[in-house]
């Protein structure tokens, strides 16, 4: 179903607005080519290892550090954000890149995001998502983008709920929708020591993603002890309920055994 944007039943509707907590250019590790990453604010997962604490709340908040203060969370109309991105469209296209939408969970603002993407000037788009969204929101955006980074954490629901505020049902459901949408995707697994990096969990992830057409590869992202670095600046408390000092188990075997391309970042 096409999203109503400006004109519906002959009357002018207000443009969608969204809240963005950062825009970073030349994000060399966020997808192909020279790209700009837009960080959308708000995430219901609240993973205990989340490294972008200012991305969790949907409201603007002040980041205070010795460098001074800055407001994380600025409201954009879809046009303003798209104009900003389009002002670099030639450069991004010329250099094999485009725009990455990350967060937070960008699908929390699916209607806004869809409208921004519609306004983009023929730019490669990448959605970096936890997969937690209604089917409608997920399809709305996932069908529009050129590539998806789908972050998978823990397959076992009970285990997941120790660390994350929501369960897997919608996430796995949306993951399995991907082949039918036709958008290529990369599954990305943050390796949290003793949590996501167990052999059983990695095997369960491999087993889950194996049958999915459109899977380009699996990226394993080793945990780094700086995950909690921004909490104080955001006025929040970092409470890791896992052993940060443990070596991560970047075990690629479960993937290789199943013939899935795998890459340790």
């Amino acid at each position: 179903m096409p999203v109503p944007t400006f004109l519906e039943y002959g009357r002018i509707l207000p443009m969608q607005t969204g809240i963005v907590f950062d825009i970073k250019e030349f994000a060399v590790h966020d997808g192909p080519g020279i790209r700009t990453t837009v960080f959308l604010k708000g995430c219901p997962l609240r993973c205990t290892w989340c490294q972008n604490p200012e991305g969790i709340s949907s409201e603007p908040q002040t980041m205070t550090s010795p460098a001074g203060e800055r407001i994380a969370g600025q409201r954009y109309t879809s046009r303003k954000l798209a104009d900003l991105l389009n002002s670099q469209a030639d450069i991004l296209r010329r250099n094999e890149g485009g725009v990455t939408f990350s967060g937070g969970e960008p699908l929390m603002q699916a209607a806004f995001l869809a409208e921004v993407i519609d306004r983009l000037d023929n730019l490669h788009t990448l959605l970096d998502t936890s997969g937690y969204a209604t089917e409608q929101d997920f399809k709305l955006v996932a069908a529009k983008v050129d590539l998806i980074y789908f972050d998978l954490k823990i397959i076992d629901n009970n285990a997941l709920l120790h660390y994350v505020a929501v369960d897997n049902t919608m996430i796995i459901h949306n993951l399995r929708l991907l082949p039918s949408l036709g958008t290529p995707f990369v599954v990305r697994v943050p390796l949290i020591p003793g949590v996501t990096d167990t052999d059983e969990n990695l095997a369960a992830i491999a087993e889950t993603v194996k049958p999915l057409a459109g899977l380009k590869r699996v990226d394993l992202l080793p945990y780094n002890k700086a995950a909690g670095g921004k909490y104080a600046a955001a006025g929040m408390t970092f409470a890791a309920n896992y052993d940060e000092s443990r070596e991560v188990n970047a075990n690629v075997t479960p993937f290789e055994q199943r013939g899935i391309p795998v890459h340790v970042a």
């Binding site: 030349f26 060399v28 490294q51 460098a67 002002s87 002890k225 670095g229 600046a233």
Partner: protein
Amino acid sequence: MNERLEAMKKRVREREHAKLRQDIEVQPDNDRYEREGVSWHGRMSDSFRALCEAEKPIILDGERIVFTRTIKGIPTPAEPPEVRAAREKGNGSVGVANISANWDLAVSQGLLKRREIAAASLERMADDEEAVQSMTACIEVIDAALDLAARYADEARAQGRDDLAEILDHVPAHPPRTFHEALQSFKFLHSLTWMQPTAHVTLGRFDQYMLPYYQADLDAGRITEDEAYELLCELFISFNKDNDLYPGVQQGDNGQSIMLGGVKPEDGSCAVNALTYLIMRVSHDVNMIDPKINLRVDTNTELDLLIEAAKLTRRGLGFPQYANDDVEIQSLVNAGYDLEDARDYVVAACWEFIIPSVALDVPNINAVNFLAAADTAIREGLAAQDDFDGIMDRTRQNIFDQVDVYVASWRRWSLYHPYPWYTVLMSNCLETGRDANRGGVKYYNCGIHGSGSANGADALAAVKTFVFDNSVIERGDLMTALVTNFENDEPLRKKLLNEGPKVGNNDDYVDDILIKLFNDFADACESHKTDIGRSTVVRPGTGSAMYYVSLVRCKQEEMMEPVVEGASADGRHKGDFIGSSLAPSPGVQIRGPVSVLQSFSKIDYSRICNGGPITMELADTVFRDEDAIRKVAMLIRTFVELGCQQLQINTLNVETLQDAKAHPELHKNLIVRVWGWSGYFCELDEPYQDHIIGRHMLAM
């Protein structure tokens, strides 16, 4: 690098050669000069000869390219009485530094041929006193150099180094027969250039003038690429040997800069060659501060070359620095340089674009302080109830006034210090019987740096938006805040700093003001036509040199440039630094390097030829893999395609990180890669910062 080279580098780093230095000082023979009425030329050549004679040939274990200084000081002879008298009347003297010799000519002809040419001019111009003095002096310095070279050959024989003796018997007297001889000849000539009172001896288009020797050896099967690599490594290591002796500069700030790539002067065709690539690899592997690498690029430059350059950038040495031929050549032509000369451009010490062989430009006579021009205009304009255009008019007038003062002072620099040795090394000087600094070359222009442009534009834009367009700040409140250094109004300062439009975000509102500042500067320079001493043009530039400190920290009485002594309307506290060359103001929030390039691409460089790089810092974690390095290469290509002029990329190293920890307010945009993500370094808690610093230390 192999073991031999690593050992050589280690010895240089440990400064073993410095132990061989003689504890003597060569004094100019001033009494005799006075008594006998020796000319200024003659004083220079005699002092140079005395220093050469006092030098001791040093051949260190296993060296294949030799020359090591043993005497620290450089004798500077007293000026002759008529020069002293002129000086007392308020005239200044212009020495020679920061220029690029015709290394090609000097190496390829050899000193004996240079001597022949000087002797012919001496004979032909026997009635021309200036020519006689100059050519006599040139012959004296050539003879002194040849004598020292002969003693080096003897020393080689005495040490049983017949391989070296054979080379030293031949060069620098004769044209080199091999690549090895060419490098030795160059080493000798370049080292001697430091043995006169000068600074910043740049190396020019090394990949161009060395290519014929390399190519001939390759064609004749006399050398392999690996052997050439080894010789070049040795030469490059040797540039770091005596750089503590170079006069009057911070270590490293010595102008030993190489310009690679670019186009050929005769037809503008691509000049990139096998040596361009090889030198970049050598510089990467040698990994020392000298020589500094510059690379000329244009829209036709292969991405492969930029990838090699990006790998060198990853080293964190702060080079290569990139110059855009598409922009700079035209800009030099517009300033009055002949096309062939413009196509041959190199950099002087840091970034100033100069023409080798035929120019003795002084590209750094002073610096315009844009922030001072804007700040004074804002303070006076607000008090006088100006509208915003009135403030812009005042800013323009202030820029004109600054340039007028500098040009007036430059005019008084009218005593032209002879330089016999440089005269030997430049085009057409021996041929015409004229000292390089006294009529021998084609161009004697002057250049003025342009500092604080981003801060100046930000300050004006803040006033425009907050005071005029949106009327959210009262004139009086802003005035009070500036006078009191925001003591009682921190919220106002934050508003100016965090909510004002800032250069570096590709925002026309403020970028238009930036453009205007440089146009005003170009107009001011162009308003001087016949009143600039022996210069034909005054060249405006975008560089800041050390001015980004001195223009906001020094006392006014110490400086000819206006100093910004207080706070400024961009939200800057009294005493805080301004940006270096072309960079966003320190402490402002920007989205990243693409917007920075877009902002600075808007300057009309066709009228701004003096140089001064867009300066950006990338965390070395950006360069994690081949794919990311390729993206850095694409960023450099973007710089070219946007029509910017010059670019310097700094890869963050541990020192920067430590400074960021101590002075976070100056490094707000410092981005570090932490895990599968990047973050602002200053927002990380201390232990995490320490962790990353530790990681960077390990990475060294």
